[in-house]
Symmetry: C2
Subunit: 617 residues, 2 copies
């Protein structure tokens, strides 16, 4: 379970909610429902508002912890469970989805079929209750109660006295039940469905519960406070659709037009409102208008829409922010340190390597933004890296577009590489289904961008430069650090060097150890590793023959700051600090040249780092 | 005008659209409208689909360039113009917004008031036409035609023969006009409104036009291809609301439920569908079902919803990606190079400086994510930097939350600084309105993060370290580059140095010039400037007394890579390359110490750059 994100009592959002509460608490229009005695006992002035974001922060003001019965607000949730139990088709056969323009307790069955017009009127809700799976009333109600509790994030009790009261007076609903039985919308004993309906309406909630329940719908069915899935995501759009078109009884068109937030009210004074992907709202205020909706509840929704710009059609284009960052292999390089000729190739032709870091929710319209970008640069792109690290969700439409794009690039001999795909098993599965055996060839995945970039660079370099064998070995004059040294100066240096061999996997330098020498890498490659905050070993750099490492020792004589490991069989020439100090006396000019070359190497690295900083920022 | 983004003919998105087109072109149900002879001439097999993203890419397949008349698809657009001309209240008085469940040509006036139920039925559309401003029919139609042309991004002609045909046979609509006149819904001559309605229906469009028009609604009223605003953003939600609840005639609830994309059809065979913030769709296929909707048009929308996951309630939580990046003043520093004691303060206490780079569309739910983050770290935050560079839109709700947060921080003595605010004049105005004279004090804005960070650092340093006067002057031993030099070695160096003074604003080094000396900064500050790709001067670094600059000259003897300017009155000691070469012979130990210190400085800078890279990546 995630930590519940309760709002800070000083939060400006809470201030706004308090202002809203203050501005509406004087509204005393409407009457408390009296059709059953239990409801009439409610405090008519009780008033709570709870706003919960789809990211799980809870803001509540006023009487947000006062219990009351959920009543008709249970209808969309039970309808959702009926969809999960039966699927869309069978549910649609028994309950329609058209607004009626009639009051909540109208019977509104379609002539002929007897199908209730929609699941928000009592007839439709009873028909939905009749479709809940379970052996007997108790087990069915248990499932409904558990489902509602998942939405609320706590075990919701039933108010027995309200249930008894509902059941004792609910003759009209029993009539509806028998009418539905007559049309075979309900099968078996219709009274069981009617009783389940009374029980679901008698579940006790608080305004805070309603807020969390609404936020769960706003968050594609996952309770954002507990992290628990209360309904499969695919049915959320159907639940919201019926709330949007039929939720506020004979008020549907005007509600969408003026408020534009799918909502549902209950006669005990509760209201929920859901702005998909954004917030859920719960209100409690028992005074009802003539249509049976909470007067202040409606006012709250109205104010939020009008003054907080919350309206479901008030959407900005999100596509443009799909591409978090893009860069080429000429602008940013892998942590494999390259030789000067290699760097020259990467600077000149690294432009064919394009890295796109994506973010947000990848669906059709957002993924299209990448596809369009790739197609516009089709000629220039030779290798494409798609980084999914910051992607939050990725749906099947996105998978389809990725697959088509990868195949299209492959047909022109261009490679695509994905990074950070482990969080999205759907993507790998999609490629497998579409490509079968070719999936492994076309669906290339690397753990991170650094490794992906290195692979792309290697591919480019292998075509541009003569291949180096693994036992390629460099002589003293080829070292960057030995630039400008005369042959006799090289000889002076060489006599100070000690030859050393390492096997693949050997630790050459251990972080924390005292620094005693500088390494000239003659053969093989070595990697600089560091333990990240997350405890993972991360590669800072990889060096190849002709490069030196451990040179910081020369400068500050401080302990080693990182561990260096042999990637392959490795040969080095070691220059100890004592030998260096000896050179300083006996051959200062060699020392000056080495230090000048070291400064040049450092300043080249610094320029590269600064260039990458400006690209990445 | 922006460049129109036409899709690449090889785009995978176009492939998908082609597949969809292929799979539906065999559908031959339905009949071409025949109620006027002109319509019956349409090719029943014509079939085009055009999808336009809210970012402005156009994808079209099939008969997307065949002209036909817009017919009832004009209704939501003209309704939008009526809203702009009259405002919401007056329009709502004359036309309702409730779905009727009746056919498109039903009269459906509310009993008593005579108000048409909604603007998508003919009666409501004629009432909306009656509310279009202008002197006489011609001028009114001109405004309607211009408005539709703005949506389409090209001048749309009227089909005269269709208009004549509509007018000759439109007796039922004239009856409606007189009925509306009877109820004072229309004033003056009702025939003028009816004729305007015939004319608007006779505007000639292509399927591509419809796609762009739909995308304009998806993009909050701004044509994404031309960049032109076709309707004020605030009315788009109303237009989409009536399309959503009443667009597909007696099919509203089921449409929202199954397809979930606000849409409108016309009897000539056109359909538009709008997924807010994502895509607009235009379809042309003249075969109509019994309800008067294009058979293939409905199938296209249905397929897009089912297989492309496009449903308006299928929204993922976008809030989490509001914060693109966050870092502290201990992790990333401004380009002002700090002295060692200053760096120590920043490392220790820079954590109180928090920079948040935001992105995307800032509205209530997205801005709340920042507010929540700030409130959770309230104690730790001493100075807050809010970077709006990557923000695309920012609405009034976002302004309100920013204002409240800034005031809350200020009450606890904490400062907020905004960067890149110039694109959002609304924000400054909002602070001005709310704070009056205090706005300048509380609404601090800097051009970029670097300057904002520097100001925050200065603030922190001014409280932590003794103030330096502007004529603070350092001696030779205080230079980083002179570390470990003995007094006699300093003397050897000093005789080689030449003293030089610069006035504030003087250019000390010009990029491209040959390098001839190294500068020891004795008094004042200097900045390294570089011309960015955009032609702007950008600051790479600012140095203060005790630092050296121009040292790369010592190493590679290459031309200067950047320009350095005196920020204040400046005094330097110059070490020429000749003098350095002299030292190399006469005092190699001094040279070795200088080079060792230079390497240390460079490697410290490299470590800082690498640390910032890992934070920023």
């Amino acid at each position: 379970m995630m930590d519940p994100l309760v709002s800070n009592p000083c939060s400006p959002v809470l201030d706004l909610l308090r202002q809203l509460h203050d501005s509406l608490k004087g509204v005393s229009d409407g009457e408390v429902a009296t059709y059953i005695p239990e409801l009439s006992k409610a405090d008519p002035d009780a008033f709570g508002i709870c706003l919960v974001t789809a990211t799980g922060t809870v803001y509540e003001v006023g009487d947000s912890q006062v219990p009351f019965t959920i009543q008709s607000i249970s209808k969309p949730f039970v309808y959702g469970l009926a969809l999960e139990d039966n699927g869309r088709g069978p549910v649609l056969e028994k309950v329609g989805v058209e607004p009626t323009g009639d009051a909540f307790n109208s019977i509104s069955l379609e002539p002929g079929s007897g199908r209730p017009r929609n699941p928000m009127i009592n007839a439709g809700a009873i028909a939905a209750a009749g479709m809940i799976e379970g052996r007997g009333l108790a087990s069915r109600f248990k499932r409904v109660q558990d489902m509602l509790s998942d939405y609320a994030g706590r075990a919701l009790p039933m108010d027995e006295s309200v249930y008894r009261s509902e059941s004792e007076t609910g003759h009209r609903n029993r009539a509806i039940g028998y009418m539905l039985r007559n049309y075979n919308i309900l099968s078996g004993d219709p009274i069981q469905a009617v009783e389940l309906y009374f029980q679901q309406c008698s579940v006790s909630v608080t305004c805070r519960d309603l807020g969390v329940m609404a936020a769960t719908l706003a968050n594609r069915g996952m309770n954002p406070v507990t992290g628990r899935q209360a309904i499969r995501g695919q049915y959320v759009e159907n639940v919201l659709s019926v709330m949007g078109s039929c939720g506020m009884y004979d008020y549907a068109g005007e509600w969408i037009y003026n408020v534009g937030i799918p909502a549902k009210s209950g006669v005990a004074g509760g209201v929920i409102a859901v702005l998909p992907g954004q917030v859920g709202i719960g209100v409690y205020s028992p005074r009802l208008d003539a249509r049976g909706n909470s007067v202040r509840g409606i006012r709250v929704c109205d104010e939020l829409s009008r003054h907080w710009d919350l309206h479901m059609f008030n959407s900005e284009t999100s596509g443009r922010s799909t591409i978090r960052r893009k860069f080429t292999g000429a602008e940013v390089n892998s942590n494999r340190v390259r030789t000067s000729p290699e760097m020259a190739v990467l600077r000149e032709r690294g432009d064919g390597i394009r890295v796109y870091q994506l973010q947000g929710n990848l669906a059709f319209a957002t993924t299209e933004v990448l596809v369009q970008e790739v197609m516009q640069n089709f000629e220039a792109i030779h290798q494409l890296v798609i980084d999914l690290k910051r992607v939050q969700t990725l749906n099947e439409s996105a998978c389809r577009l990725f697959w088509l794009t990868v195949v299209k690039l492959a047909e022109s001999g261009k490679r695509t590489v994905f990074t950070h795909v482990d969080r999205f098993p759907l993507l790998r599965r999609y490629f497998k289904v579409k490509l079968g055996d070719r999936a492994d060839e076309l669906f290339r995945a690397f753990e991170d961008n650094d490794l992906a970039l290195e692979a792309c660079e290697d591919q480019l370099l292998s075509r541009a430069l003569p291949a180096r064998t693994t036992d390629h070995r460099v002589g003293p004059l080829e070292f960057d650090l030995c630039r400008d040294l005369t042959a006799s100066e090289v000889d002076l240096l060489s006599v100070c060097l000690v030859h050393k061999r390492f096997a693949a996997g050997d630790t050459i330098i251990t972080a924390g150890d005292p620094a005693a020498e500088l390494y000239f890498l003659v053969r093989g490659t070595v990697s600089v590793l560091m333990v990240t905050a997350g405890g993972r070993l991360s590669r800072l750099a990889t060096f190849s023959p002709g490069m030196t490492f451990g040179e910081m020792a020369v400068i500050d004589r401080a302990p080693r700051s990182a561990t260096i490991v042999a990637d392959s069989e490795v040969e080095c020439q070691l220059l100890s600090l004592e030998a260096l100090d000896g050179l300083r006396q006996s051959a200062p000019e060699v020392c000056i040249k080495l230090l000048t070359n070291l400064s040049r190497t450092l300043s080249q690295k610094l320029r590269k780092a600064n260039r990458e900083l400006s690209v990445l920022d």
